[in-house]
Every structure is written in structure tokens, then in C-alpha cells.
């Protein structure tokens, strides 16, 4: 898939995220829009996993530690055919498997997450199993920056380095916001790169909405043989809709009818710009 197609998907994914959150009247709008480009690149370009290979022991694994951004994950998994698109309409409904945090009841999801600070340990264990069994699969995990204050992450970071897990790719969605406000006001994370470097990670920075740059950074794995990989993805919470961007209160705010119309209109405009440039409409 080329960059233009990826870009088109990002627009459509954002539409879907907003639509299912609006319909369910619940969801994590800001964080899902923040990480959707990363998920787009992972599932459409990087991960060696498909609906048919999901039970293959050699598949790549993706574990979403920031489980609250599950609307982004559901959107991409449905687009990739892990489950029918129409299941998205069941988000948050009584007895639906599509709840507000990832569960393995939904095909394509590796681990039940949602409590923060869990994904990295799970990913370390899964990557360690690959090393023990001399398998070549890789394990990707997406962490929110706000959850980095959970101490368990640093226990896991120590173990990742100790066991030289260069098959582990930790992606931090560094949008600098959490539910209360700026991460640096809530509890200082910086210098974040220095912290991970001190824990033994090989690190690359990337613009978290720059699709070509994301593609390129994942192509460089392992960044350094014998070291776990950290992708510090600099993102904007709520990216793609002007009035949602970089605002803490959009963490789990559901758009009003007016906001929803305006947001979709902005995405209409983004799609028209894309069509003007590429001249075709790529069916999803």
C-alpha cells in the first residue's frame, strides 16, 4: 500500500472513530485520533498478521497498552477484516464484545488491556518467548505517555533490556496530554528519551502523523541489535479535527451533534483535498 492510500485510510479511519463514538455516546476521542496513524501504518504496512494468520504462532503481535483508545483499534481491525464492519455499530451495547477497552472476545485482539501499565510486561513476556523458542515474530506495544508514570512500565523496561529483546518495539504515543492536563504538569516525564536510554533502549523519534516517516522508522527495526526498540512518536491528541486537537477535555468527550457535523465536515474537506491531488476515490 502506498503512502497516498495510507493517507486516504487515515481520513476514513478518523470518520469511523468519530462515528462509532458518537453512536455509542462514549469513547476516548482524543487518544484514538492521536494514535490512528500509527495503527494505520502498523496494520496496513508493518505487522505480519492477517485475519487468517491470527492463530499462527509465528504471527507478529500487537498489544495496545493504552487500551482506552480502543476505538482506533476496532476501526483498523474491522477495516482489515478481523471482524465484520457492521460489528462496529455494536460498540458499547448491552452484551456486545466491543466494549470500551480491548478484549480477546474480539478477533484480532491479543490481550485484554485497559488498566494502564500492563501492556509492556505482557509484550516483554511474549517477545521473550520468541527468543526462547528461536522464533522470528516481533512484538509491538503502544503506550500512552500518561501511563508512563505507572512503575510497572519501568520494571518491564528493565527486563526488556536485560533479556536483549530487539524483537520488542515499544511505541509511545507522545501527545503530551492526559486526562487532567499536560503530562509535564501532572508528573514530569522529561527527559523521556534519556530515561529510556538509561534503561537500555535504542531510540528513534518520529512524527506520529507522518505516514512516510512512520513507515521508514519501522523499516529500521532493530535499531540496534541486542537492544529493545523505542519509537517516540510525537503526536497531537485529537489530530485531524481542528477544534479537538491538543485539548485535554477531549480525552473522553463525546462530540455534540453540532461538533460532530463540524468534525465530519472538516474530514470531508480533507478527503476533497486528497481527491483533488490523486483524482480517485479508493474504496475501503
Amino acid at each position: 500500500m502506498d503512502y497516498h492510500e495510507l493517507a486516504y485510510k487515515s481520513i476514513q479511519y478518523r470518520r469511523t472513530i468519530l462515528r462509532i463514538i458518537k453512536q455509542a455516546n462514549a469513547g476516548h476521542t482524543g487518544g484514538s485520533l492521536s494514535c490512528i496513524d500509527i495503527l494505520n501504518v502498523l496494520y496496513n504496512h508493518v505487522l505480519n498478521v492477517t485475519p487468517s494468520s491470527f492463530d499462527d504462532p509465528n504471527r507478529d503481535r500487537y498489544i495496545q497498552s493504552k487500551g482506552h483508545s480502543v476505538e482506533a483499534l476496532y476501526t483498523v481491525l474491522a477495516d482489515r477484516g478481523f471482524f465484520p464492519q457492521e460489528d462496529l455499530e455494536n460498540l458499547g451495547r448491552f452484551q456486545s464484545h466491543l466494549i470500551g477497552h480491548p478484549t480477546r472476545k474480539v478477533r484480532g485482539i491479543e490481550q485484554n488491556t485497559g488498566a494502564l501499565g500492563h501492556g509492556l510486561s505482557l509484550a516483554v513476556g511474549t517477545a521473550l518467548a520468541a527468543k526462547i523458542d528461536s522464533k522470528t515474530y516481533r512484538v509491538y506495544t503502544l503506550l500512552g505517555d500518561g501511563e508512563l508514570t505507572e512503575g510497572s512500565n519501568w520494571e518491564a523496561a528493565m527486563a526488556a533490556s536485560h533479556y536483549k529483546l530487539d524483537n520488542l518495539i515499544v511505541i509511545v504515543d507522545r501527545n503530551t496530554l492526559q486526562i487532567t492536563g499536560r503530562t509535564e504538569d501532572v508528573m514530569s516525564l522529561e527527559p523521556l528519551e534519556d530515561k529510556f536510554r538509561a534503561f537500555g533502549f535504542a531510540i528513534q523519534h518520529v512524527g506520529g502523523h507522518d505516514l512516510p516517516a512512520l513507515v521508514k522508522v519501522f523499516e529500521q527495526i532493530p535499531f540496534k541489535p541486542g537492544k529493545p526498540n523505542l519509537v517516540l512518536a510525537h503526536t497531537v491528541k485529537g489530530k485531524g479535527v481542528s477544534f479537538i486537537e491538543d485539548k485535554a477535555h477531549w480525552h473522553h468527550h463525546v462530540p455534540t451533534d453540532e461538533e460532530y457535523r463540524t468534525a465530519q465536515a472538516e474530514l470531508d474537506q480533507a478527503e476533497r483535498k486528497w481527491q483533488a491531488k490523486h483524482g480517485i476515490v479508493e474504496p475501503l
Partner: protein
């Protein structure tokens, strides 16, 4: 009492059983948090160094990594002191193991008040209660070397997460080799019409000894090993309730939320109202001392259990 013969600590039986099993199955891993010494796993580490994973003193990470390893097909025995394993990493047990259905075998060592005078930080008298309230994790507390060996053998291919807890001290042999063991099925050692002791884990030997004392007085006494708190063998308890006057539950755990609470709840909800005494650690600042002294203080000794049964039986008859 004289009929019981001493055997090794269950921890040693666990370690030796696991070493034998792991020698034949390279997917078996021990994952430990600086506990290979106290878990009697030094020989395992020397014999099968590729099958032991050290995590260091980091219980949350210990359980999270174990869940990840199990998700990739490894047969993971996660070994740590019960007190830390079931409290520091409770959220990892709840979410990464039980909720995510990663079939880790959690081995809580030096459980109950095994650590004695090290104090309440090192006691685990809460673990049955917290784990019983979590869906999708089985709980087994073996009483002797036989039950330990059997539950470890069963755990290898157990399809669900399981917590197995054991203490440090040498045990008594309580079963014959041909005894049938199954996770979730009680073992009836004897049946009695006056008193039935229902014990889980290592205090079972005290209940057996108490039964001997009472039998010498002419009483009819039964003893049941309730090694599994989940699945819980309700039928065994309801059967016993039909033919015994007094029931005494015995556990190395808080009297709240453990075996006794389960029995009381079961009996009441099934229309039984026998005289029941729940013997365990009461809800108070636990008395200080060795495990033996703590047991003695709270009556978890043959003489204490026998006296509890006598008093309860007499109270009912009056």
C-alpha cells in the same frame, strides 16, 4: 497421631516434581522474582538453566511477563512468596492472567503464616479471599507431598489459570499412593457422624490428628481434604452435612473469605444449618511468633481443634 509419618516440605516436593516434569518438556518454564532459593529451585536452575527466567524483585512485572510467556504457548510456573504474589501483583493476576485467560500457574510459596515472626508483611492470609472473587482462576492448597505432586502434575496442562499455595515446613503423609486426586474434587479421608473436619492445605494434618484424639474418646469423626477452593466441591460438603452433627473448618487464612466462609454460605443457601465453627486467623493484629506458636495461639493444633469440636458438640446437645 503416631500413625502419621513425616515427609518433606511441600515446597521441596513441588521443586523436585517440577524438575522431573520440565526435564521431559522444554516448554515448562519457571519464572521467579529472586525466589529460586526460597522456592527450592536452585537444583532446577542448575539442571535446566534455559528453563528458568529471573525477573528480580518486581512482582507486577513478574506476573505480566508470565502472562505474555503463557500466551505464546509456554507452560509457565510463576514462583514468588504468596504474600507478595497475591497482593503486589493482584491487578496483573486479575487482568493479565485471569481476564485475559493466560493459563499461568501461580505458585505462592511460604504461604499463610509460614514466615512466622517476620510479621504480617510476609503473611498471606488474604489470598483465598481475593482470588475467590476473581473469575477464571482455580485455587488449590495441597496438604501433603502427595497432593502437591498431583496438583503440579495436573497444572502443566491445566487449561485455566491456577494458583497453588504451599508452606515451608515438613509435612505428614496423609494419603495412600492410590488415592484419587482431581483439581476441584475433595478427598474424603474418613466419614463421621459426630464431627467432620473440613481442612484446606497444610493444616489438614492437624485435623487428622484432632480426629484421632476424638476417636479415642469414642466419637465418630470424619476428615475431608478441601484442597481446592476453586472449583469448590460443594457436593462433598453437602453430603457430609447430611450425616454429621458438627462441622469444623480449618485453614491457614483469615476467617473471612476463605474455606469457612465458603462452607457457611453453601450450607445456608442449601437449607442446612449445622453447628459450624470456622477456625483460622481471626480479624485482628496477628499475634507475633513462629508459625507453630501462631497456630497454637489460634487453636490450629490437634488439641485445640479437638477442644473446639467437643465444645461445639456439647453446646448443640445442650
Amino acid at each position: 497421631m503416631e500413625s502419621l509419618s513425616l515427609c518433606k516440605p511441600n515446597l521441596e516436593e513441588f521443586a523436585q516434581t517440577l524438575l522431573a516434569l520440565a526435564s521431559q518438556n522444554k516448554d515448562i518454564l519457571v519464572v521467579t522474582g529472586d525466589s529460586r532459593g526460597s522456592g527450592k529451585l536452585v537444583p532446577f536452575g542448575k539442571t535446566l538453566p534455559a528453563q528458568i527466567v529471573e525477573i528480580g524483585i518486581a512482582e507486577q512485572n513478574l506476573v505480566g511477563i508470565s502472562a505474555g510467556l503463557a500466551s505464546a504457548g509456554k507452560k509457565v510456573f510463576t514462583v514468588a512468596p504468596a504474600c507478595f504474589l497475591t497482593s503486589r501483583s493482584l491487578e496483573q493476576i486479575k487482568n493479565d492472567v485471569a481476564y485475559s485467560d493466560n493459563p499461568v500457574k501461580l505458585i505462592g510459596i511460604s504461604a499463610g503464616v509460614s514466615y512466622g515472626a517476620l510479621g504480617s508483611t510476609h503473611h498471606s492470609i488474604h489470598d483465598y479471599a481475593v482470588l475467590r472473587a476473581i473469575h477464571n482462576i482455580d485455587i488449590v492448597s495441597p496438604a501433603d507431598n502427595f497432593e502437591t505432586r498431583k496438583v503440579i502434575e495436573a497444572a502443566v496442562d491445566h487449561p485455566r489459570p491456577i494458583y497453588i499455595r504451599m508452606g515451608k515446613k515438613p509435612m505428614y503423609d496423609l494419603h495412600t499412593p492410590d488415592t484419587r486426586f482431581e483439581v476441584g474434587k475433595a478427598i474424603v479421608l474418613s466419614e463421621g457422624s459426630d464431627v467432620t473436619f473440613l481442612a484446606t492445605g497444610e493444616p489438614l494434618s492437624r485435623a487428622v490428628m484432632a480426629a484421632h484424639l476424638l476417636e479415642q474418646e469414642g466419637l465418630s469423626v470424619g476428615v475431608i481434604s478441601m484442597h481446592s477452593l476453586c472449583p469448590f466441591d460443594e457436593a462433598a460438603i453437602l453430603r457430609a452435612a447430611q450425616h454429621t452433627k458438627v462441622m469444623v473448618s480449618v485453614e491457614e487464612h483469615s476467617v473471612h473469605g476463605g474455606l469457612g466462609s465458603l462452607i457457611a454460605s453453601l450450607l445456608m443457601q442449601n437449607g442446612f444449618c449445622p453447628r459450624l465453627k470456622i477456625i483460622g486467623i481471626p480479624d485482628e493484629y496477628t499475634v507475633t511468633g513462629s508459625q507453630k506458636e501462631i497456630f497454637c495461639h489460634y487453636g490450629i493444633i490437634p488439641e485445640g481443634l479437638a477442644e473446639t469440636a467437643r465444645q461445639t458438640l456439647n453446646a448443640k446437645e445442650n
